[in-house]
């Protein structure tokens, strides 16, 4: 596709439910990033992949958060046993090279609401 796509665009989950958020990066992009954007805040880094390798997961807030990119393309962010504080917009970004300071192209985000 022309840009980064994310699905679903909106997700409502009951507290304790597991959710999976999908990111389709721009074809051929090596780097993939996940960010969490709470209401009224800037995006905060969660994790970074270079191809299928997860090189940085320092931003994942707890062990309930897990991300994978098994074939170096599509990525899934999974949140287990969701809590209300997980409510946020989850943004995915990709960049062409392995150097993340190159332009990152962002998807529209998945808005997660945990009740």
């Amino acid at each position: 596709g022309a840009g980064v796509s994310q699905s679903p665009r909106y997700k409502v989950a009951k507290r304790g439910q597991d959710v999976a958020l999908r990111c389709d990066p721009i074809s051929g992009h090596v780097s993939l990033f996940w960010y969490q954007q709470a209401l009224g805040q800037g995006p905060e880094f969660l994790t970074y992949f270079q191809n299928e390798a997860q090189l940085d997961k320092s931003g994942l807030p707890s062990d309930r958060f897990f991300a994978e990119r098994p074939e170096g393309s599509v990525s899934t962010l999974k949140i287990q046993r969701t809590q209300q504080e997980d409510s946020a917009v989850y943004l995915c970004a990709s960049s062409f090279t392995a150097r993340g300071k190159e332009t990152q192209y962002f998807g529209p985000g998945t808005r997660l609401l945990v009740l």
């Binding site: 980064v4 960010y35 009224g40 800037g42 995006p43 880094f45 993340g100 300071k101 990152q104 962002f106």
Partner: protein, 113 residues
Amino acid sequence: AQSVTQPDIHITVSEGASLELRCNYSYGATPYLFWYVQSPGQGLQLLLKYFSGDTLVQGIKGFEAEFKRSQSSFNLRKPSVHWSDAAEYFCAVAENRDDKIIFGKGTRLHILP
């Protein structure tokens, strides 16, 4: 730890007026600096970036930003705003050694007709 501060949460300007959005960063070495714009329902779009060289950077949509090392600032400017510029603007900095981008909390720009 590095950080980005955007002191203004909201800014209101009249259409056709000039604009300056402030950004200050905290980082020891020469940072990689970015400005992104986020319109409602849209993803973040890169306006411009500074890595090195000329400290005045031109971006898309008529925006420019100036890197001032002495003031640790990277302010965004536009000589004449349009109603379509109403959006949230984020300043961001990337670390040298890894590729994580640190975002400020954003400035919401309102345009008066």
